[in-house]
Symmetry: C2
Subunit: 397 residues, 2 copies
């Protein structure tokens, strides 16, 4: 029969990266296209130990329904942990556990925007969030990214000219895909603008703990005195991505609506993972754990960036990230980026992601591509970057 789908989803496509990832199962291909945490960063033994204890002594807790807001001891932990990072204000905030950061961002949009309302975001931007927003038929408007974050003038211009601007979505730390970090000045400017023009900021911070160089920059949430910042993060990069356990700290009124929406989405998030996350976070020396993770990602990033510095064609520019999982490389204007990425996978067997995959409008011309250093083994980074370096010189000289 002939199926009629809702307007919300007819335009929605599986992400372009998924298509590229299909090539990565071809034997011999080295992939810099994914965004998975390094497998060696998972605390597998500790998880096994906590899980065994839980399933032996408290199995019904791990297998029975729980409340939508999240496992209460985990929420309590998150409140105090986020408070210590100035990301939870006990005067007006509340916390909910979500099914990954993805659900946090999706539900924030569902709760606050009508179809046709404007949601501003960085361009390029994380595709997973873009598609979540698209699935609610909102008007997406991308604002150019600079080296130190979103272009403030263009942001203000968009706020003034777009219809019903309700929300700005940003990843201030080690943004996906650019790896860039928003400066404190810009964070302040963005927050001031939200106050002036009365919109909500959705601050997505999945990589915040993965800073392996430079100085920490305060979150936008930490500047929030009016209750207009939704802070979302996840255990995906610091514990396990397969858990699908994320969290949101936001004004209680907003959390209340997110709870109602989450209840109808999935009732609650997998409870085994929530209990394991709680016990892990409260029985681990977190400073040591995060320091171990940073060492893993620092090494992988250095391995990759040293090739860009020393072996890539000099015509490729990039900014060395201070954390996170991604490097953003830009080709010279006269080089066709899509052709470059296609040759990388087809001739050189290296998977990289074309920059326009992260554009609001995929037909927009981009000269950049994204590299990921967290997923490949160190050996594959070396092997792949040697090939990619040679390719850049073959093509660009």
């Amino acid at each position: 029969m002939n199926y009629k789908f809702s307007d919300k989803v007819t335009k929605l496509q599986a992400s372009a990266i998924r298509e590229i990832l299909k090539f990565t199962s071809v034997p011999g291909v080295i992939s810099f296209a994914a965004g998975n945490p390094a497998p060696e960063a998972f605390p597998t033994e500790k998880v096994a130990e906590i899980s065994a204890d839980l399933l032996a002594n408290d199995p019904v807790l791990a297998l029975q329904y729980n409340i939508t807001e999240g496992y209460t001891p985990l929420r309590d932990f998150l409140k105090s942990w986020l408070k210590s990072k100035n990301c939870y204000n006990p005067d007006f905030d509340d916390v909910i556990v979500t099914s990954g950061g993805q659900q946090a961002n999706e539900l924030s949009c569902k709760v606050l925007l009508n179809e046709g309302d404007t949601l501003l975001c960085e361009s390029p931007c994380f595709i997973g969030s873009l598609n979540a927003f698209r699935s609610y038929n909102v008007n997406l408007c991308g604002i150019e990214m600079e080296d130190d974050g979103i272009n403030i003038e263009k942001l203000e211009n968009a706020v003034k000219t777009q219809k019903n601007v309700r929300m700005l979505y940003v990843i201030p730390n080690f943004q996906n895909p650019t790896g860039r970090t928003m400066s404190l000045e810009k964070r302040k400017a963005v927050y001031d603008m939200a106050c002036k023009y009365d919109f909500i900021i959705l601050e997505d911070d999945p990589y915040g703990e993965l800073r392996f160089a430079g100085e920490n920059v305060p979150t936008i949430k930490s500047l929030d005195t009016e209750g207009r910042v939704i802070y979302s993060s996840t255990f995906s990069k610091i514990l396990s991505s397969g858990f699908r356990t994320g969290f949101v700290s936001a004004p209680a009124e907003i959390i209340q609506k997110i709870v109602v929406c989450k209840q109808v989405s999935d009732v609650h998030s997998n409870i085994w993972a929530q209990v394991v996350a709680h016990r892990f976070m409260t029985t681990t020396n977190l400073d040591e754990h995060f320091s171990d993770l940073r060492a893993i990602y620092r090494k992988k990033c250095d391995l990759m960036c040293n090739y860009i510095d020393n072996a890539f064609s000099e015509k490729i520019s990039y900014i060395r990230p201070q954390g996170g999982l991604f490097v953003w490389c830009t080709l010279p204007d006269n080089c066709n980026m899509n052709e470059f990425c296609t040759r990388a996978i087809k001739e050189y067997k290296i998977a990289i992601v074309p920059g326009n995959s992260f554009s609001i409008d995929e037909n927009e011309i981009s000269h950049s591509f994204r590299l990921n250093y967290s997923t490949p083994t160190n050996d594959d980074i070396i092997k792949g970057m040697e090939i990619l370096s040679k390719m850049t010189k073959d093509i660009l000289g």
Copy 2:
């Protein structure tokens, strides 16, 4: 500040049952208001054993990202298992793993309905699904339930008079809240009507394996030759509700859209639970396992219904369920149902759910209330039903 929420969620309220469940933490209250599986029905030892093996030998599988469609071996198992039950047609169907049955129903609505389109459902109906549909601003239209399922004449009348009827949502087996089962004749009539008037049937079957009396009735999905039935079910009642692992069998084109929508909702469902579910289902004697579960629920249902038969006021009517978790009792017309339920909790400390909680329009007058026998212990069923029996006689004579 003053928050403006989307039209979709402003009208959405936390379910009335949640409010009642708050009373159940008051000491001394016996609750027949929940809908949790019996804790003794969880195969806790086997889950612990499978999990230990998984986390010892394949920890990265359990902790890393996986694909949106679901863990491939679990999907393969589901296809052959559902095929054996005539709930998967290899000619046109596909299968996706979802975050519980709740997500299956929510995404089916998101994918197929625009705001304002009509979704028909049984009245009374499962609140969780009603609220999911409401959160997409669709036109909900409830059709009266009879002893053997939905009223077919009223259904056809609604199909003819409502605007853009796109979908019918039904729970044919041991419906929540009424515990009733749709007859084969009505299943056929409903399917024929869907073909005649070109709408989709969303068949929700969380309790199908929990038949402890009477004869099995073929699913509507098993009648589907045109590809217009979405069949959704879950591991919640046969393995673990805390897993949040459900599944959908539907025409491949619909599954494809659900995959894209699920990707933006939560990327994928908790993978530990998916692997454990797969290994449990493929290494357990399922006939024995389901037979154990049925024995547990048969006993609980009998315990409760024997009180209704022998000790309740004769003015209360009900139909003894042949499976599932719920009993639906109806008071005489001259008795105020809401007052009855309030007195039950306040004077008698028995929590029961007022029937109008399950109405499309909560202001509709209902004379029924829902009892649940799966969650309380057998001792509490006896204790609580003794009190409730006395109450019915005190009030109704």
